[in-house]
Each structure stands twice: as structure tokens, then as C-alpha cells.
């Protein structure tokens, strides 16, 4: 199986995004490295706007993720409510 991954800058906003990712993506792996947090999962990983908003306690635009994003691997799909990384096979 192929792994998708996303890395975020280690800061206060990312911590909520990571919590939200952890909640909706069962069995994802979270790796802390200096100044960054890397999250991996087999096949597919989703960031859900509503869940991030719940954790942050404020409105959050999915495109705000660009501010904290470092890198990613997988085919991207983005809409108002979610951001998905996926390998098709």
C-alpha cells in the first residue's frame, strides 16, 4: 500500500489541524521533527473544515492551510468543506 503524507509547520494553528486530522483519519501516524509535524496514512487522508473549526473555536477557511503547509504527497482534491490527499492505487 502507498502512503500519502502532509507536513505542517509546528505552531499553534497546526496543532489544531493535526488534532482534527487525527480525529477523522483512523490509524494515521504523527511524526514530530524539529519545527515540523508530519502525518502519514495508508492510501488516503482528509482534512475536514468543520472539525478544524470545532478544535480552533473559530471560522476557518480550508485555504488557510496554505499558511502552515510544508509539503505533501498524493493527489490533491480541495473543496470548501474538505481537503483530500489520495493515491488511486
Amino acid at each position: 500500500m502507498s502512503k500519502v503524507y502532509i507536513a505542517l509547520q509546528d505552531n499553534d494553528e497546526s496543532r489544531y489541524i493535526v488534532e482534527a486530522i487525527e480525529e477523522v483519519n483512523e490509524d494515521c501516524t504523527i511524526i514530530h521533527q524539529p519545527a515540523m509535524i508530519r502525518i502519514e496514512r495508508e492510501h488516503k487522508l482528509v482534512v475536514v473544515r468543520e472539525v478544524v473549526e470545532e478544535k480552533m473555536g473559530r471560522d476557518w477557511d480550508i485555504q488557510e492551510m496554505h499558511l502552515n503547509l510544508i509539503t505533501l504527497g498524493g493527489n490533491v482534491d480541495e473543496d470548501d468543506d474538505f481537503f483530500t490527499l489520495e493515491w488511486k492505487q
Partner: protein
Amino acid sequence: MAAKKLNIKDKYRLLTRDLDWDFSYEDRKDAFPYEEFEGLKITDWDKWEDPFRLTMDTYWKYQAEKEKKLYAIFDAFSQNDGHLNVSDPRYVNAIKLFLTGVSPLEYQAYQGFAHVGRQCGGVGARVACQMQALDELRHVQTQIHAMSHYNKFFDGLQEFSHQHDRVWYLSVPKSFFLDARSAGPFEFMVAIGFSFEYVLTNLLFVPFMSGAAHNGDMATVTFGFSAQSDEARHMTLGLEVIKFFLEQHEDNLPIVQKWIDKWFWRGTRLLSIVAMMMDYMLPNKVMSWKEAWEVYFEDAGGSLFKDLARYGIRMPKYSEVIEKEKEHVSHQAWWTFYTHGHATGFHTFIPSDEELDWLSEKYPDTFDKYYRPLWEMAKEKEAKGERFYTTGLPQLCQTCQIPMLFTEMDNPNQNSMRDTVYKGERYHFCSDGCCDIFEEEPEKYVQSWLPVHQIFQGNCGGPEMTDILSEYYKINVGADNMDMKGSPDEERWNKWKGTA
């Protein structure tokens, strides 16, 4: 009544697709003269979509916010004498190499994407290229700003732009980009957008930048991650480009595969410099080059190629050689720089005993057998006051322009050399990969500006080496070059730290 907020998809359609127009009185082919130049078949540009669906207004909004955050950190770094907090003054040599070797590539990427964006017939791709061109311009600017602080306190950063155009080892990154920029627009997009961005820049901007943080360099990690936040978009563009070409026409497959083969090989050669930065120039270690390679090339690249297999794409040619090289390249490259340290614009040094042990642990199959003995010999000589420098000029590979420093992977005691004859002249290469690339486009590579050849032809001043270094390269001889030990950098550092 408040205006209804558009959703991302509608906004993208209105602010991207709907900006395009049809050609009524001009021939479309005249407007996009390079579109068919490389033989790719594109039937429907409307199939192109940016999965981030980023529009220009959102782009400016978030980029402005990134810049504000970044410059606040630069100010704090400089106001608090951030250079005094780096782990070890040897670390700054990695920054010198970054500024002279990498930052000017950001400028070339800007020029390349501005040109290529103009040549794409589809508006979606055009807008994405325009954003990438602006990003790259931002990267070169922020990197120069970040490193200008170091320039006030350390040698070797003052002539980065001049040196990028002339110095022997800097012709490696420079010629890599010139090769891509002088290709057709779609080869450029595969070279830089896909091979370089998607698979290779991750190795420079992720583990190396994390390493900068681990070495107390707040300014560098911040510009690095700020740049990389744009790269995530570039990587996505790179992958979309490949999928788009392959979905447009089956005849595109062999062309795209050939470009992937070429640019993966070119890219891995270029990364030998990054390999040695990771293993030898970061005093506090995060991960070895080999480990970074396994995570970002083998795992991430492996998944990528498995995904692309549905289009008929296979792993890049010579992947099996590349796999073996992760055990060797960083050591072979740093040894070459160490022995040519009189002709470099930064300081070289022998790894500390602790670092040698770390390398032995990280490279159990190769380091003690092939490379540690070299460093033990260098240590003995240095202890006797016989730090040595190679006086000869190295032979360069006609394609990648790297000195012939690589060995056969199955016999690391044997230098790897290939040659071929074209129009009665013999040309030399470091590998089968570079030789193949030459043979595919000999008329391009016979024109390579090879620094050593240029020196021997008398085009770089001289005849003495010190004249070439100081007058032609603008290296401040005796300050910028030679060993870290005994350098003015080291002396100043000890004075600042009160350890003199």
C-alpha cells in the same frame, strides 16, 4: 442584502477559465508558437484543473500574510543577534553554499515559469504558472534578505550572484536550470515542476530546513518552510502536468517517460551537493542523507510511480543505480570539496570524532569500509600540520558538470567514467545516465560551458590559481576559502563567545 459568497469551484471558474478569450482575427498557432514544438498532443485544455482551485485574489491574500509573518521573524532574528545562536560556526558554510548555489536557481525558476506560462494555450495552466513564477521571485528575495544578516558577520556571502555565474562547482546547479530553460515549455514543466519540485526539492526544503531549525538558525528554517508552503502548490502543479499530458493522448507517453528519465538522473546528480550538506555541514543531525532519501525519494517517489503506472509510466531509468548511490554520494562529494577547499568560497573541515561515529552508525555497510579511513588519514596529516589541498584541476562530466568524483556502485574503489565520440571529438561523462542524456541531444551538450576547460583555455584570467580565484571568481583568498580551522570566521566566533 449581502452578496452570496461564491464557493471555491465557482470562484475558480469565474476568476480563471472565464478570463480566457478566443482568437478571432489572429491564428491561435501564432499566439502559442511552442505548443506543438516538442511533439506533445494536447486536444482539450479545459480538462486542466488546479486541484487547489487557487484564484489570484486568494493568492495575494495568503502570500501577503506569509510575508508578514516571515519578515517579523527576520527582524527578530537580526535584532537579537540570531547568528550567535547557531549550533556551531561551521554550520554557516551550508548557508554560504545555499546562497551561492540554490537561491539563484529560484530566480531562474521565476524566469522559466514566466516564460512557460506565456506559452501554455490553456488558461488554468497559465494562471498556475504565473503564480509559481511570482512565488519563485519571492523565494529568491526572501532568501537574500534572510542571509544578508549572515553577510554582516561571516565571510563568503558577499559575491553570491557573481560567483553563481563563474565558480566551478556552481556551474552544476546553474547549468541544470539553463538546460531546463532552453528546452521546450513542456519539457521545462516536467523537469522543474515534476522531477525537481515533486520529488527532489522535498529533500532540500524539508529535512535540510528541519536541520537548520535543529542548528538554531531561525531565519533559514522560516524562509525554508515559507518557501516550501508554496512548493506544496508547485508539487501539485507538477503532478497535474504529468497526468494532464498522459490523459490528453497516448502518443505523449514515450515523450513524457523520456523526460522523466532524463530529469530524474539530472536531479539526483544535482542533489549530491545537498547530500553532503545534510551529512557533513549540519553539526546537529536530524537524519542522514540516506534516511532522507528513503523517506522522500523511495517511499514518496515509489508511491507516486505506482500511482502513475495506470498511465504506463515506469520508474525512472537507472533507479537501481540511484538506489545504491544513497550509501556513497555524500561521502564522495564532501571528500572532493575537502581536498579542493582552497578553491571553494566556503570553509571545509574534517568531521569531529563524534560526527565520524554518527556516520559509521548511519552507514554501516559503507562508511567504515571506504570513507572513514580517508578521514583518519586527513586527521593524521592535519595533526602533523600537513592539511593538504589537491593542486590539479578535476575532469568534469560534459552533462552534469560535476568533477569525476563518483565511483562504480558495485566497486567503490573504481572511478566511474564513460566516454563517447561525436563529430570526431571525444566527450567524457561520470555515468551511463549522463552519457545517455548527451547522446540523445549532442548538439545541446557540446556547447556546455565547462569551468575547467574555460580555465585551461585562458578564459578565466590566471595563469596562477590564486589570480583566478580572487580576480575571476571574486573569492576573498585567505578569508573565504581554506579550512575552517584558522579561518577569520573561526577567530571572530571565538572572540564573540569569549573562547579565544
